[in-house]
Symmetry: C2
Subunit: 349 residues, 2 copies
Amino acid sequence: MTLAPPPAGGSRPGSGAPTIREVARQAQVSPMTVSRTLRDDPGVSAATRARVMDAVLALGYRPNEAARTLRLGRSSGLIGLVVTNLANPFYSQLTLGVEAVATEHGMRVLLGNSGSDPARERQLVHDFAARRVAGLIAVPCHNDHSHLDPGRLGGLPVVLAGSPPVKIGVDAVLLDDFTGSWEATRHLIARGHRRIAFLGLPASTWTGSERFRGYCAALEEAALPVEDRYVWRRQAGAAPAQQATRELLDDSDPPTAIFAANNRNTVGAYRAIRQRGAATALTGFDDFELADALAVPLTVVAYEPREMGAAAARLLRDRIGNAGAAQAPRRVVIPTTIVEYGAAAGEPA
Amino acid sequence: MTLAPPPAGGSRPGSGAPTIREVARQAQVSPMTVSRTLRDDPGVSAATRARVMDAVLALGYRPNEAARTLRLGRSSGLIGLVVTNLANPFYSQLTLGVEAVATEHGMRVLLGNSGSDPARERQLVHDFAARRVAGLIAVPCHNDHSHLDPGRLGGLPVVLAGSPPVKIGVDAVLLDDFTGSWEATRHLIARGHRRIAFLGLPASTWTGSERFRGYCAALEEAALPVEDRYVWRRQAGAAPAQQATRELLDDSDPPTAIFAANNRNTVGAYRAIRQRGAATALTGFDDFELADALAVPLTVVAYEPREMGAAAARLLRDRIGNAGAAQAPRRVVIPTTIVEYGAAAGEPA
DNA sequence: CTGTTAGCGCCTTCAG
DNA sequence: CTGAAGGCGCTAACAG
């Protein structure tokens, strides 16, 4: 009786989405009957059902998902995904993998781009938690994972992608960073290279550290020294990597080969090598489009970034399924393969 | 009194996120006081505030965003974004632009990848509407836009990106497809080319049609014929484009230049040209990483895909702001520029 | 300064 | 087969 003055006249004004009550009024039934009809509850007569459906169509009614989630006490059916930089194809592929698996389970993806800003990452995580996402997948941009602790997130299931959890007990999907780098470096050594440079991410990152470790292991195994002047590991973007490569090529005793520890560094190194017309062999972690058809032969450490996202989503799905069953943290390691593109890499000078 | 049996003992079990009542009980106040404290309402004493905050921290409480949205009758603060293929850098950049502007306004992005499947696109749109997103940005994958009509979506603001609305009145962000293609083709003509092939998307798509129109206009203007055997417009991916280019190069009177109407076709054409070592000049719509450093000189129609996403988000923001004020549909056209990479394109044979 | 009442939109439970 | 009551978590509006 004390309902807010309902929109007058026939069709609704553009004042927002219709509610179940408006449909009920239009169909001359109770809201309950509308609810039952829409949920295909058997106990509704054909005639009533028809009238309700007419009203639903006429009004363009669609149940408010947030309200029903609240009522049913269920999760929102949302997976929160926090990546560092969607412009990097690695992350957009990963996102695609998450989206695909989420869709298989009728879930949707809430996307956040941290831009490698720890504060922004934390903010996104908190916001997603407040929105009651069913689970969270994150590519952390630094080593403090305290904001990703499910214990502080109301028991929210969390899965990390790209780096292992630090002081929190959550599942993770990792690349086989060490093996990939090790094999890539061995590949160069097998080609006769002795002066092999390393272009990588900062040592503080998991990826930067593991890939450097693989590089070192291969050198050590071949009784080759790790020389400081061949190691550049501060640059995260393509432009600085290009500059670093120029300096490497200008060395009095320049490297005959370069191992770039991620696609940004590979691209930068490629540009510099091509500009100089150098014969330096180039191998890089991460495959990317056109890597096979550049002006310089390239060998890459390849893997399926989409599969990483899919694997993360599956780990999350398991946790969401049995929320109660405390299971030990799991790890999925995505394998890497060495792919040699173009003509055989040039022999060392 | 008839509250559900509360979790026994001290700290909460891992049964989900705590509610405001649990915090209230812990702090020995009413839920209202907790609510006020968290919303920085001035009318709370320092002592009470402290007790409440202690409880909040102890329990890791975070207000349920869905519940408060429901109560306040506000929008969810979510922007729904439906793209066709996130693996294409064009769309991931666009997504980044949307995300950035959304963030500026405290909103988040709900992401859906349609995979160019009309049914999936429709499903995503309906689902997002049911989740009460504040607005929707879509890159439609076909010409039937009926499912994107705000009239059928409870007045939900909608913005299209990439192609103009068909039979619905919504805002759109478009590229200057015609001008870009026209200029690119003129550029080739100015270089002396007379046999210029067109590699494009199907004629049924807006983009495919407009870019072909630009190509035709430039030829016409130069009194050159549009020859069927130089026009391939069925291929949407790089592999078919590569094959099409092979056939073009095998023609008895092969083109001296190719205009590829999108990055997929450009990549395919590039591969074929490089493989054959052909001197065919290549120009393509869409800029992409490494376009400047390939083995074949390339000219591209460049623009800011991120700005497209940002512009779409801004149009949406305006609509969300004044939901009532019915304003005529607007269009933002993103300009394109011709960028010539590498050495001057080879003179025609 | 704090608490009570009521209700956002929906659906489970129980009556008719 | 249909309706009425009640409450999910939260917060305006109104007491006290």
